[in-house]
Symmetry: D2
Subunit: 378 residues, 4 copies
């Protein structure tokens, strides 16, 4: 693990998500730049001092020099956005698979380079689009792929948070500070932080690609340098259209990501805060409430569920599913048996990562334009 020392939030999430299934063990870390903190963080997590490295370069080189049965199998990169690209490139070059916190890189150019490197090394790289890990999201994708909704017509995706309603970055809130800082977050604030999740979810579930967009970004709280609010009208391939809104100033909202998709023959609705339920409304007949863990769900939903129906799973299990699928993908890539059919294995790949980076670029461009519709370009 690179990053994620004491006090780091997302590192603990990655560890919970990766360790629970008993398939992954934490064997080494470059948990902090500070040698003291690197050691003490390592000890707290049961690492051997010799493998609690103080830099990712040291870690990657040292581990690569260990015998195969001892050395780490892959790297998890949980550093801030601007420290994703270099360690990922280096890890790939040294023969390690890579799991990166989202977004893939700091810029679109880096993302494209990284994709090439993945291709040339033949390793697996994934990134944490956590919401795609929910079983009912996978069920929705499966239903649409099977044609259950007919031709898709409309997609509405909304991601509303309220935690940046006040200028808390000026009051010592560290999460708020880096997310509103262009040097650490990139070209966009709310749209880059959460809008890109909404975009990814829409493309993931629908199986369609955005072709044109018309965006408006806004800075609602005075004094910010990056958008904390935005809305985007979308055109998709195959004549569908839709709407994406993302805001971090919806006072009182927690983490309200939701999506509605309508086709000729019915509609689907999913809310991240009640993730085990998928509402399916056929054009005719009663609405149905599909529930995680039920036997009528698809194999892919079953694969991504740990408990019987009615025992709610949540965000950390969705995250654990990212690691589960990544592990399966790595094993498949390495020719190991997994007991799981390959078509069920499903993870965010570099192509998706690049589209996410491109989404941010295109939204910013459109927001600055007087023209209504711009094509989505990479």
């Amino acid at each position: 693990m690179i990053g994620g020392g004491q006090g780091a939030f997302i590192g603990a999430i990655h560890r919970f998500a990766s360790l629970g299934d008993g398939q992954i063990e934490l064997v080494c870390g470059a948990l902090s730049n500070s040698p003291d903190k690197a050691k003490s963080s390592g000890r707290e997590l049961g690492l051997d001092d010799s493998r609690a490295y103080t830099s990712y370069t040291d870690m990657i080189q040292s581990e690569a020099a260990l015998p195969p049965e001892t050395r780490m199998d892959f790297v998890s990169i949980v550093t801030p956005n601007h420290v994703h690209f270099k360690p990922a490139m280096m890890a790939l070059d040294h023969g390690f698979h890579v799991f990166i916190e989202k977004p893939m890189t700091f810029t679109l150019e880096e993302a494209i380079q990284l994709k090439e490197k993945v291709k040339s090394t033949g390793k697996v790289l994934t990134l944490a689009h956590t919401y795609t890990g929910y079983p009912m999201v996978k069920e929705a994708r499966h239903m649409i792929a099977k044609g259950r909704l007919g031709k898709i017509r409309k997609i509405y995706v909304n991601y509303h948070q309220g935690w940046l309603s006040r200028a808390s970055e000026q009051d010592g809130n560290k999460q708020a500070a880096w997310r509103t800082d262009p040097k650490r977050s990139g070209k966009s604030g709310a749209m880059g932080d959460i809008g890109v999740h909404a975009f990814n979810l829409a493309e993931y579930i629908s199986g369609m690609k955005v072709t044109h967009l018309c965006a408006e970004l806004d800075i609602v709280v005075n004094g910010r340098a990056l958008d904390d609010d935005g809305m985007v009208m979308l055109k998709f391939s195959e004549d569908a259209s839709g709407m994406l809104t993302a805001t971090q100033v919806a006072a009182g909202e927690e983490n309200a990501l939701s999506i509605k998709i309508y086709g000729e023959d019915g509609g689907l609705e999913w809310h991240q805060m009640e993730p085990n339920t998928l509402h399916y409304r056929p054009l005719e007949g009663p609405a149905q409430v599909l529930r995680a863990g039920m036997p009528y769900l698809s194999d892919v939903a079953q694969l991504n569920t740990r408990t019987p129906a009615g025992h709610p799973e949540g965000y950390l299990e969705a995250f654990a599913n990212l690691y589960r699928n990544f592990t399966l993908a790595v094993k498949h890539r390495e020719g190991l048996s997994t007991g799981v059919r390959e078509e069920l294995i499903d993870y965010t790949d570099t192509e998706d990562g690049i589209r996410g980076m491109a989404f941010i670029e295109n939204v910013v461009k459109s927001s600055n334009s007087f023209e209504k519709w711009l094509p989505f370009t990479i």
Copy 2:
């Protein structure tokens, strides 16, 4: 009542809404152009044959000639959109107050003329923006007017129906037929039919006015002449912004009108299909569930409620509130005592009606434009 003979849908709604409170009696009607149907419809409703007229001109003239204690007090116009203007003008000219089914008129120009006529005659004219009749909608408006949310920042309003997902206008569905016909519905389909309700609701609750918009209308079902789907980005006075979507091709949806409004200090959420609940989320502290009929609500919400909390009221009671407020307004205008403070009386007036007509015009114009933002003009 003009229109609303046997088989007419909205006429029965108006009657239920107006008669239940025991303050209004149906005394005459021009229920149908067909003399036979006019008589038989009248008899079914207990009208005297002599007051079951066969044209609105006949009705207005004849009633005006009756002695004041006998003649009707006001006219309800429940005919199709293109037959709103003339009977309304004539009724006003003969000294009758007017209640019109929405939209106010067929064109913006007519609406402006009608407003002038209302002003010059001093009569009360209202139109059926039913959703403003719900007590929790009035509570939301009241809370915002009192500053409970602070300065308003965001408004999201969505109106999703699925009943036009198929080309049912070609299969004998009369409601579908006239709503998809430009000659009877006007310049817009979905946006004129339901989008205008969403627009009205957003302005009504927030107390703000739309100043700019960027719209995209769409014909999803092949063969239609009018939009069955659309989305509009909105800018409001006082720096707020928002999003409005309206569609009649959201397969499986019933009548899903909902609104979320966020200010500096909190947010509100209301769903028409669960109308007795208003979700209030302050920026700090737990979310609250405000419920119709509860003693902590404002006087205006209480005035528009008939039953104790937990005895759900619905669409017809909201509609009855339009008649209740109209009746109160008429009494106030005529100097009669009502026992109700004037500031609690609240109805859709000609100004609102004109803005609704202008919304349709502006949306169509923007949808045809390549420019992103157009000013909202009347």
Copy 3:
């Protein structure tokens, strides 16, 4: 109408419910014992002074003396519980149909006499078990009658209110005062007021009869003479069992009546506060959300619905359905055509009314007994 003068709550409800459909007109009343109030209440409702009677005896006799085309068709009795029996008997004797507010009478003995009178006069008598008027309640009954759940096994019905959590009867709350007074309410408080609705609903939907019960009544708020809380274990015919709870001291609850019924092949769940939704969970396959107004519902549900799906109906429409069915039943009894198949007409009859009175008697008896199970006797 007998009772229901100015200031009376339930009278206004009955009027709203009966007038809205335009099939019933208020033609006379004995609205109050006080001559002044009787007149002024009558005027407010548009009654002719000559038919604003000051006693029900006067009203029944005078109306019976009028020519058939003028005189009232039926009587609505909305007086307190102890003034139901006599006017009902007298009205029947004079040839009028009768609609009584629930409960049918003050004692079981009166109820039995009234049933005999109804039988001998051949008139229609119904009582206001309002919750059976909801279309989704009728749908539930229909589904079970059609065998959709298989053999019924379990019924859970709960009716929880909080409005008697404090001794508000001592602070001038008139509703609280008469409902906690044995002289006006009868042998039971909460169980007689709301428990009997729950009992009626369980028998109505399931089509089964309670055969044994084990009850515990409780006085939670000190100083009361009647139960404000209770719970009852139930055995039904055909081996089903269940649980009924009724309380008026569930602080914070509004009018939370709900029922769950499970059979061999699936379950149903309905909540009065969200009355347009019926949850149906088949043993296999996804849960379904049945919604009022949808075309897939039964004819009986359609008959009891006024608006399209998504336009919520509520308590007053359920009440209006009682009057709708009563009117239809009267017309059928009198040989008039209604356009409605007789098997769709459905109202609470004297048999149901007697069972309701017997329920109260049996619950009180069981609560005073040390034995666990007592048979349900009439």
Copy 4:
């Protein structure tokens, strides 16, 4: 870990719950009686062959002989009910803390012996009453302890499942087979399996004890030897009363455990299937929706939450909280620093375990009695 080899359900749950926080490592196991399966299960989980034991006696003795820094710290017992007592006694005798799957033992007598052993050895023993691990359950308990509801009056707790609606134990369903078998499950089926969770939850949240009960157990599906359904009326200390229902034949239900508690000043409602929400209804003022992860919650709720509000946690996190609290309790017992105030540490102890066993005994006794109320005895 004792039990929990390949194919075992609850073992995987315990591992996910214990490993995710990175504070616990799986170091040894007696995962299966079969030597082959013990080895292969151990390898799959990364155990050293030398510590993949084939019996718990071997494991406890061998581990006790290892040096302190190497040997295991505690034992998790995840075997069937009748194999809880002996390994727990032996582990305690050899100086290990113990975490047992619920129920504590097979009989009440064993439970009492085990309690004595825990007392005499000074070790920590807990059992998996998972539902007490949810943060909002702890918040509810905290609110009541702080007097937020005033004196408690009513408790309604229901636990409804549908998975035993058919005699699936006769079709090879292993879970169904052992739970319906008196030799493996004990004296009661549904009440012992899930009713006891409901009982524990009611006592846990309310802080009160059941003093009397009146129970009725039922075998709904023909051919079973144990109850698959039951209901219990309850009296609590301090004059409160309540109702508990537990059934496994509620066709279509998943794992619907819910509780409502009402006091003089307000009520609480919680549903296990939406565990991050706690509904709080004060007697006056609007209902509140308390949400996991929000800053207004108590310290004890915060301690048992891993993610920010709106990132749902579920059953596995509740389970992980059991291990978190157990670990903290062990550290406190051993004098190690934890950074957590002792009064925040909270786990199911032997006293609770004994009351759970006694609940089953008392319910069975009452169900067989003709008397209404029996005292709750241990």
